[in-house]
């Protein structure tokens, strides 16, 4: 994997049903995600998806690209820049920023983003993973 390589794109629609299912799975029932009347009076004017749902999509992209190395050595540092609304489609962007060879393998740092179908960036940040020397993933393309 080389600097500039792009990671596999993950794209999906987010519905209110997904949001409510995530609330049940995580235990996060904050009314900004669940209660239309409460959300109508918020700064967003409507319900929003949990930020961690978008983060999960970044993690799915990293798992697709790096397999078990992501589960054992992955690190992620992200900012939630704008909300994802039920009804949005979200798309991941991932690009290799640096590759550093070490005794334990290749330390790969990627710039990661989630964008909404409006083009607005919902999440941005960095993800790092160490791929051992005997298992290096193939890039899906080059950027």
């Amino acid at each position: 994997m080389r600097v500039g390589d792009r990671l596999p794109v993950v794209e999906k629609g987010v519905s209110q049903e997904h949001v409510e299912r995530y609330a049940r799975a995580s235990g996060d029932f904050n009314p900004i995600h669940m209660d239309p009347d409460f959300a109508a009076g918020s700064q967003f004017g409507t319900r929003i998806a949990h930020g961690m749902m978008g983060a999960a999509t970044i993690s799915e992209m990293m798992t697709s690209a790096f397999g078990g190395a992501w589960l054992n050595t992955g690190r992620m540092k992200i900012k939630f820049r704008s909300p994802v609304y039920p009804g949005d489609r979200i798309t991941t962007l991932g690009r290799v920023k640096s590759v550093r060879e070490t005794a334990s393998g290749s330390e790969i740092e990627c710039a990661v983003e989630i964008t909404r179908d409006s083009g607005e960036v919902a999440i941005s940040g960095d993800a790092m993973v160490t791929v051992s020397t005997d298992r290096r993933p193939e890039a899906s393309g080059q950027g």
Binding site: D28, S42, M52, F80
Partner: protein
């Protein structure tokens, strides 16, 4: 009982929960985020859970135990996955307040989380930054 956020001090443990990552829970999580990558197989154990399912429980536990109010914003998240976790494992999630300050009408709280297996081995660490709306008469609280 309502929490007085101004009385929370850095270093204070604010959430501790124990979870069984059974197959039904993981299936429900994967459906909610439409994770189509599938569970990775492990040669030594059950299939491996998506690491963000652990993060979801960790953050969800903090939201519940701190009674994070509606209108709050989750603005940043750091995660460090230390060890892959198989379906069926029990984990303990604990969160500690690292910063608690008020500026510009918002309370900024930074929370560090550690998730460990029953033997005490770390499987995930995290740091969450949340902004809570501050009532006009709310004192600043302990700086961190």
């Amino acid at each position: 009982m309502a929490i007085d956020y101004s009385e929370l001090v850095p270093g204070q443990s604010v959430s501790r929960r124990r979870y069984l990552l059974d197959g039904a829970m993981i299936a429900d999580y994967m459906a909610s985020v439409q994770d189509e990558s599938g569970l990775l197989e492990s040669p030594e154990s059950n299939p491996l859970v998506p690491p963000m399912s652990i993060a979801a429980l960790s953050v969800g536990g903090v939201v519940q135990d701190l009674q994070i109010p509606g209108g709050s914003l989750h603005v940043g998240q750091e995660l460090d996955f230390v060890r892959a976790v198989p379906v069926g494992e029990t984990l303990v999630c604990e969160a500690t307040l690292k910063q608690n300050s008020v500026r510009g009408g918002w309370r900024f709280m930074v929370l560090e989380s550690e998730v460990r297996d029953p033997e005490g081995r770390m499987v995930m660490a995290g740091k969450s930054t949340v902004m809570l709306p501050v009532p006009a008469d709310d004192p600043p609280g302990a700086a961190g």
